[in-house]
Symmetry: C2
Subunit: 244 residues, 2 copies
Amino acid sequence: MTYCVAAAVDSGIVFASDSRTNAGVDNVAVFRKMHVFEAPGERVVVLLSAGNLASAQGVRSILRQGTLEGRADPAGILGLRSMEDIASLVGETVRKVVSRDGEVLSQQNIDPGCTFIVGGQIGGERPRLFHIYPQGNYIETSRDTSYFQIGETKYGKPIIDRVVQPETPLNDVAKCLLVSFDSTMRSNLSVGLPIDLLGYQADSLRITMTRRYDESDAYVREISRIWSAGLRKAFTEVPDISWS
Amino acid sequence: MTYCVAAAVDSGIVFASDSRTNAGVDNVAVFRKMHVFEAPGERVVVLLSAGNLASAQGVRSILRQGTLEGRADPAGILGLRSMEDIASLVGETVRKVVSRDGEVLSQQNIDPGCTFIVGGQIGGERPRLFHIYPQGNYIETSRDTSYFQIGETKYGKPIIDRVVQPETPLNDVAKCLLVSFDSTMRSNLSVGLPIDLLGYQADSLRITMTRRYDESDAYVREISRIWSAGLRKAFTEVPDISWS
């Protein structure tokens, strides 16, 4: 499984992804699910992926081809003129890969689908965040719903619903996404460290805030401990039941 | 959808179930999913059900037949000698109903499966709690895993994992299950009030603690408000992120 989440607020976008992939519980590996395309001062584009790993890698390989050797293909991620064009390109590429591999995989009851979250900013356009479905169509965040999750989405949703608002500071959003990861990793073993975290400050057009959290990181353990203690304390504040 | 949960602790068992059923979002109805069989001073047996509503009702109808008109069929819920025999009877009945209706439903891509949680106490036996799968087989709680959920299980799981231990008092378990419902109902509209709650005190062999919470109940709204505030407070106690 996988858990990836990104939230767009007034001050920018925060992206987070786990790194565990598995084909059955006895075949677990670490793969980075966050991929960054940057032309400093001009654009930042971040991709998060979930679903069939071969399909997701296939999509990323095709997208990378338009950016190799400093070349900025005008029809590629470093050449297109708007984030919406990039969302559309990712969707088309998903369709291409899924239709290439899908028939053979489906015959063996393997789901060929993959899902992407794509966000960032190009030039004077505002920062934008999209969710690309396995069918290649996509949706964008709004002020009412400012985040997208892919993969194992349920355990980590309640805290985001309660904390993330358009005016929430970027660092609080980042902290909230890590708490959301803690709830998810606690309940689903197939979501695991390291966590890649990236904070994009609106209008900076460059990447300045990134972190990778692995098992040796004291902060991740602290979050888990303090959040558990806080939940138990919050529980004691709920009034007792009266049966009559 | 449905959300039902029951937790067995040293002092007894708490059962909780929602009442919303739906066939598509435009066909929503209220059905009780908690069913109680009681012979005061001799036994208490509680059933919670999820899954295909017709299958679940079919199973309950067959089980009720052995208890009509004060008659205690020796092979029925009021006649069998142990909770494990009752779990086995429920499992067999699930198999019977699913095999009766399953072929026609499966042809139309409708899942005929239903799932039960069955718990209670008979005479001198200790209180016991079982989870019956749609295939009719079943598992029992242990001190390591003392609760079962059926239906929409994910949103409400983290708080139970953090609070419920074998030594947790019965009223705290009941409060925890209601908080778990609050998280679930907030994230999945197909889980809804009223909530049926039943606390069974070990060795009482009768039912003394029951409540039904509907929209007019101030306590349910209080839980939601105080729990949300407590979560946000817990969040502020998590230390801030450092990016470097």
